[in-house]
């Protein structure tokens, strides 16, 4: 039991991010958008947690709050550090939410972020060489004579050529830009990477190259990923554990196999069934959800999913379901998760 605890790299407890809604000339706060509402998860060292959900469910906000690119409202994020970063906070297990901005900056060597749209995350006036040397300069490796070799190694890691160094971001295709984004993220040999929809703006034939690259780098540098995507098939391919989010809350979390072979939340079931299968002979009785995702500023009462859920009963309208834990750490928030017979992935 104790050993298992040591393997956990990051542990998120009760993370919340509320955005105030302000109105009127005095900018009074009239309400709150609960973008991320009390989520908990752990990621083991060297593993990938896939965070999946529809647009507006708060998955990106969750990713950004973990790195404090957005300041979280509540909660703590325990991070198991195994490098000497000379932080002021002297613990091996630090709480990211309590770090000073100076320490936070040092921690950025350890935790990196990859953005959805690589083009808008680069300075268009900088060429690849200066984009990739920047992390080294910021973190004080400027006197390092082997900066050039390091950058060349980075390029070969992500499958780019040395003659790309003098080019600017606009001269690359989407897939190549994402490779530069990945190179920048792994420059300082971090342990943990938050990848926010890194393949969703890419074409299918390029998408598979980048997914493979993520896997190769994970094996090579023992990286831990929080992989955010709306695409369940990408998530299934890359993740060890999958967390399904709906309206700011995680509704189901389990290891990859369990989630897909034995879903226990109706939302997971309908999400899996909604994905078009690339086989025209596929037997087609999709579970169609009614209506749209409600607004997080005004979530439904009780279980947030009940207005769209075909299994909803009276209790679902009034009470948010408690957490239920099944075998293999399968977490579900549903009143009827023990009795429902949900359709697994076909």
């Amino acid at each position: 039991m104790k050993k298992e605890k040591e393997n956990i790299l990051i542990e998120v407890n009760g993370l919340k991010k509320y955005f105030p809604i302000k109105k009127g000339i005095f900018q009074q706060t009239v309400g709150q958008i609960k973008a991320v509402d009390n989520i908990n998860f752990k990621i083991k060292f060297g593993e990938t947690l896939g965070l999946v959900g529809e647009s507006g469910c708060g998955k990106s906000t969750a990713g950004k709050s973990i790195l404090r690119l957005i300041e979280p409202t509540e909660g703590n994020i325990k991070y198991n550090i195994n490098k000497s970063l000379q932080l002021d906070q002297k613990f091996s297990k630090i709480d990211i939410t309590k770090l000073t901005s100076k320490d936070l900056r040092k921690l950025r060597q350890e935790i990196q972020y990859i953005f959805q749209d690589p083009y808008s995350s680069f300075n268009p006036r900088k060429n690849v060489e200066s984009i990739l040397s920047e992390p080294f300069i910021i973190h004080g490796f400027i006197h390092n004579n082997d900066l050039k070799t390091k950058i060349h190694n980075l390029l070969s890691d992500v499958g780019l050529k040395p003659d790309h160094l003098k080019r600017f971001p606009h001269e690359f295709s989407g897939g190549q830009r994402q490779r530069i984004g990945i190179a920048r993220a792994i420059a300082l040999k971090p342990s943990f990477i938050v990848a926010d929809e890194p393949v969703s703006s890419l074409d299918v034939s390029i998408q598979s190259q980048i997914i493979n690259l993520f896997k190769t780098l994970q094996d090579k540098y023992q990286l831990t990923y929080l992989f955010i995507s709306h695409d369940l098939s990408v998530i299934k391919y890359i993740s060890d554990t999958v967390a399904v989010m709906y309206l700011g809350k995680i509704v189901e979390m389990a290891n990859n196999e369990n989630l897909f072979s034995n879903p226990r939340h109706p939302y997971t079931e309908s999400l899996m069934s909604a994905i078009p299968v690339p086989n025209p002979k596929h037997n087609d009785d999709q579970i169609l959800l009614k209506g749209d995702v409600p607004s997080p500023s005004n979530p439904p009462t009780g279980c947030y999913f009940h207005p769209r859920c075909k299994y909803a009963k009276e209790i679902c309208k009034n009470e948010y379901p408690p957490l239920q834990i099944y075998d293999n750490n399968h977490h579900v928030f549903c009143h009827f998760s023990s009795s429902l017979q949900l359709r697994p992935l076909l």
């Binding site: 034939s205 997914i211 493979n212 369940l232 299934k236 690339p278 596929h282 749209d292």
Partner: protein, 327 residues
């Protein structure tokens, strides 16, 4: 049953200052009546330009330089490339006989007019009916596309609606004049999967109920498998394979089609094996000067592929492929 649209050797060039970009480089395509033709391709392959050339809406500096687009209607043939895109005849066809749904419903509707007036405008442009009749028709069509509570929400503005509802408005607007051909350009790409499933179901119902012919453009092979009767695969301004949907998925011929199908991270794929990929990047149109456009990325490239351009020929009765491996 004759074809609704017959496209032959269509070329569309964009005349830029330094160069000429051949966005569509010789396309032959027949659209059968009351069927859904799926057009699949990666970004920049010219699938949207193909749709816009049927509509007569190619943006400047693009021009149709060669070829015909025959529109068969009322036992007569009209060559759409020969009609001025601002002429009265084209205006009668566009939005009335042929209409289009665009990728982003958010940006395709006018934000300063309410949705009801925008649909009513379409009706009154094409049909001689008064306001109250067209309002009745608007309510009816909104109801038919599953727009919730049209009577109270008909005069909502686009920003008051969600993406899925806006796409229903777009579909209603495209269908209100009962077009013969509906062109849907990535209609569900901007939507979430659960909303996408709703819209796809709606479009399948529409095909049956209105007997509309649909050209469905997408990059998503999963959506194609669900929707299309026939599929044309495009690569850099050309069609490389054209076959019935079952053929494309069970017996793909062109190396590009095979590569596309294998590189998808489908839900039943094994996790520990790397995904197969197509090496390299999609070239820009006009970048490859001679031979087959796909040869730099093709795993089965032969010396002939670098010199000669393959033609789109029948490899079996109803499967056409443009590759030297088969002809």
């Amino acid at each position: 049953m004759y074809n609704l649209i017959d496209i032959s050797s269509l070329h569309v060039d964009f005349h830029l200052e330094e160069s000429i970009v051949p966005a569509i480089n010789g396309i032959d395509l027949a659209v059968k009546r009351e069927k859904i033709l799926g057009i699949v391709g990666e970004s920049g392959c010219g699938k949207s330009v193909l749709a816009l050339s049927i509509m007569g809406l190619i943006p400047s500096p693009g021009k149709i330089t060669n070829g015909k687009i025959l529109f068969n209607h009322n036992n007569s043939e009209i060559d759409l490339t020969k009609i001025d895109s601002n002429s009265q005849l084209m205006r009668n066809i566009r939005g009335n006989k042929i209409s289009m749904i665009f990728q982003e419903p958010m940006t395709s509707l006018n934000p300063v007019f309410n949705i009801g007036d925008q649909i009513i405008e379409t009706i009154r442009l094409h049909q001689k009916v008064n306001y109250s009749v067209s309002k009745q028709r608007t309510l009816k069509i909104l109801n038919e596309v599953g727009f919730p509570d049209p009577a109270t929400r008909i005069f909502d503005y686009p920003h008051q609606l969600s993406g899925g509802m806006l796409q229903r408005v777009m579909i209603a607007m495209a269908l209100v004049c009962k077009p013969l051909l509906l062109i849907a350009d990535e209609p569900t790409t901007a939507l979430d999967v659960t909303i996408q499933a709703q819209v796809l179901k709606l479009m399948n119902e529409i095909k049956l109920r209105f007997k509309t012919t649909i050209i469905f453009i997408t990059h998503d092979l999963g959506v194609i498998a669900k929707m299309a009767d026939e599929v044309a695969i495009m690569y850099v301004g050309k069609i490389v394979e054209h076959a019935p949907v079952n053929e494309i998925f069970s017996n793909p011929k062109h190396p590009y089609t095979i590569g596309l199908l294998q590189s998808m991270p489908t839900l039943n794929r094994q996790r520990n094996k790397p995904l197969s990929t197509i090496k390299g990047n999609v070239p820009n149109p006009g970048e490859i000067k001679s031979g087959c456009n796909f040869y730099p990325r093709c795993p089965k490239v032969m010396s002939r592929c670098k010199k000669e351009e393959p033609l789109l020929l029948n490899s079996s009765k109803n499967q056409k492929v443009s590759c030297f491996l088969y002809n």
